[in-house]
Symmetry: C2
Subunit: 404 residues, 2 copies
């Protein structure tokens, strides 16, 4: 079975979330992605969550389906080997992903001198190359003061590294766009982007920058309300919380119908002079709408709500902890063809996802585990650089290359 990117070879020198996720996304579509680490592991080798024995579940999650080369990047011979790997010939090779602040041997001038049509994508913290991570970009953009219960004032940072995930996918797309351009023109490319610019662009794309400059509004926090239309969390009779969405007209009419609140909503509309078929008016009337709906949820268990809402095709979802989600939801298990039970060396067998897309003409590539550090050192040096086993053995003996 092959993926759409089978045949493509990419070298990745990176750590943590964004760029490793970019490499993994490409690997899970079939590319041969060679992750390069120091013999003791990258900066993220021990990143939490970890198992009782200290194995990183994070690292295993972010490096699935890659090959691992462990090599001493401080040694000139190690540097020469990695540069040769990045710039190795072949129409589907010469592709490099990094988020390391470049030593000279790994920067564009040095590498493109070896292969002029190299495609290199580099992700920095800020556009000036300053350090920045999801934890610092998100507060600087303004999201934590617009998140959390209405009326509270402390900033609430997200625990999801959203900017890293967005940037990672954008790095993958940027590499594919630049490589397509190379296929069409033969031209190599140095593409640079920063985590903060990704966040700034997305904030502006969502209209949040214009809301300040055009409307003069500094949006406050609105709790769990869906801004600008209707959507709210409710507590059911069993204590479970659910999120209900009335963003589109169809969703809103369905919600009113299933909850039998037509008359009450008509009364609210006439009392307020608002037209609840308009999303903005639903937003203005949201407190009244919530007051009408609250007793309906309070009188029903989540199971009862789920049955009624699913039957009517409403857009809703339960709130639950990670543990509840994993235990209760077949979409987070091998019932979902995206997942399979995979044995991760050093950790054991657990459900791992492949790429979310199914390519109908190709089938689904089954999820593959992350490599052990150095697992493919010998294979990579032999099959990409054509090194003889004696040569590889000498590098291992001298501590320049490590194997699993």
């Amino acid at each position: 079975m092959t993926g759409p990117l089978s045949g493509m070879r990419i070298v990745e020198c990176a750590a943590f979330v964004a760029v490793p996720l970019a490499g993994m996304t490409l690997a899970q579509m079939g590319a041969d992605v060679i992750r390069v680490d120091r013999p003791t592991g990258g900066l993220d080798a021990k990143r939490w969550p970890v198992t009782a024995s200290g194995e990183s579940l994070f690292w295993a999650g972010m490096n699935k389906a890659k090959r691992s080369l462990a090599i001493d990047l401080t040694h000139p011979e190690g540097q020469e080997i990695v540069a040769a790997l990045i710039t190795a010939p072949g129409p589907d090779a010469g592709l490099f992903l990094t988020n390391l602040r470049g030593p000279a041997w790994m920067d564009w001038p040095a590498l493109s001198a070896r292969r002029a049509d190299l495609v290199m994508v580099s992700l920095t913290g800020t556009r000036r190359g300053e350090p920045a991570v999801d934890y610092t970009v998100n507060p600087a953009l303004g999201f934590p003061f617009a998140t959390g219960p209405e009326g509270t004032t402390d900033p609430v940072a997200h625990m999801l590294p959203a900017w890293d995930l967005v940037a990672g996918q954008m790095v993958a797309g940027t590499l594919l766009a630049a490589e397509r351009h190379r296929l069409k023109t033969g031209q190599g490319q140095m593409a640079e982007l920063s985590l903060k610019d990704v966040g700034a662009a997305m904030m502006a794309n969502l209209g949040l920058l214009a809301e300040v400059t055009v409307n003069g509004v500094d949006r406050p926090r609105y709790g769990n309300s869906l801004y600008g239309a209707y959507g709210q969390d409710f507590v059911c009779a069993c204590g479970a919380c659910v999120m209900v969405v009335g963003l589109t007209d169809r969703q809103w009419r369905g919600l009113v119908k299933v909850t039998g609140s037509e008359a009450a909503m008509a009364g609210l509309a006439s009392a307020t002079g608002l037209d609840l078929s308009r999303e903005g008016d639903r937003w203005h009337a949201r407190a009244g709408i919530t007051a009408i709906l609250t007793p309906w949820f309070a009188a029903r268990t989540r199971m009862a709500v789920a049955a009624l809402f699913d039957k009517a095709g409403l857009t809703w979802g339960p709130f639950r902890t990670f543990g509840q989600a994993v235990r209760d939801d077949p979409d987070l298990s091998p019932d979902n063809p995206m997942f399979a039970m995979v044995d991760q060396p050093g950790i054991g067998s657990y459900p791992m996802p492949g790429h979310p897309a199914t390519f109908a003409g190709l089938g689904r590539l089954p999820p593959a585990p992350a490599p052990r550090l150095g697992q493919h050192s010998e294979a990579v040096l032999a099959d990409v650089l054509g090194m003889a086993s004696g040569q590889i053995g000498a590098l291992i003996d001298r501590g320049i290359v490590a194997v699993a």
Copy 2:
């Protein structure tokens, strides 16, 4: 000036965030993206935030650099035109993005019968095609119960539609991967993915699923702490909040040095038996670390902290509102070459971002505004389908095609 995707033509029938963002991302790298809407506008035409006169800042944000065709999709002639547009010949055309739950004329069997090598990417709510949006996917995955101040119990939903943004970038990458495969093999492709599967995959990629199944841990909320190492928010003397990160060894040593807390940290280490050079031990010691650092921040304004931290190259960031960020940060203004002042018809001039990546060999495509609805109806019918102006005029007269 051209982008890496110049020459590529994509048709987009979609609404809201994810797929429109995918189309815009490709448009901002140079593709000709034709957004198709009903003559009255798509479901998202009035999406908030809106200006005082009701123009959607959201829509303007999500549809930059595209062309707009407004056409009656309920009319058989409108359907025929859109199907012809999607399947128009050309090696760089035959590319289709959608999140509409397909009418038969717009589904894969019908479209691929017209062009066998069509590349179509379809994003659904769940893998079974059920409705799901960011507001319902995020609670179902578990994030709101792991977000917010330690010790609180109410779920905190994110206000950033993170899953939409991630899925949008993934849709763009999926299209590029499938189109590359077509370039290499001639084979078309129907690629399907769901918003919920994107979320489920990312949750698992971050190690959060394995934390439940392997470690048996249901992670609680940890406020604004950086899980598994050290990172915390502090209040400065001026009342401003800052986020400080000690994730890597270099960041941690820098933080201790600049705050002059070497002796206090050594005391903490010896009192607790923890080794603060290890990230997991920093996590265990976080309350003590925070107690040591709190008075240091409380004694300094944010300006003073910024000067010291920037000089030392520490990884930190301010917390601020959207308004403060837009007013204070040159990275969110045309000082940043990603942004330019652009006139958006119906709204006015404000800073708009282009694609975050700079392609060194191509330069930066300047940001272009969103089209007015139907702005390119005539041009698209003429240049893609070769329709004569009389033919187009008749379609407009009959109300099948609308123009801006």
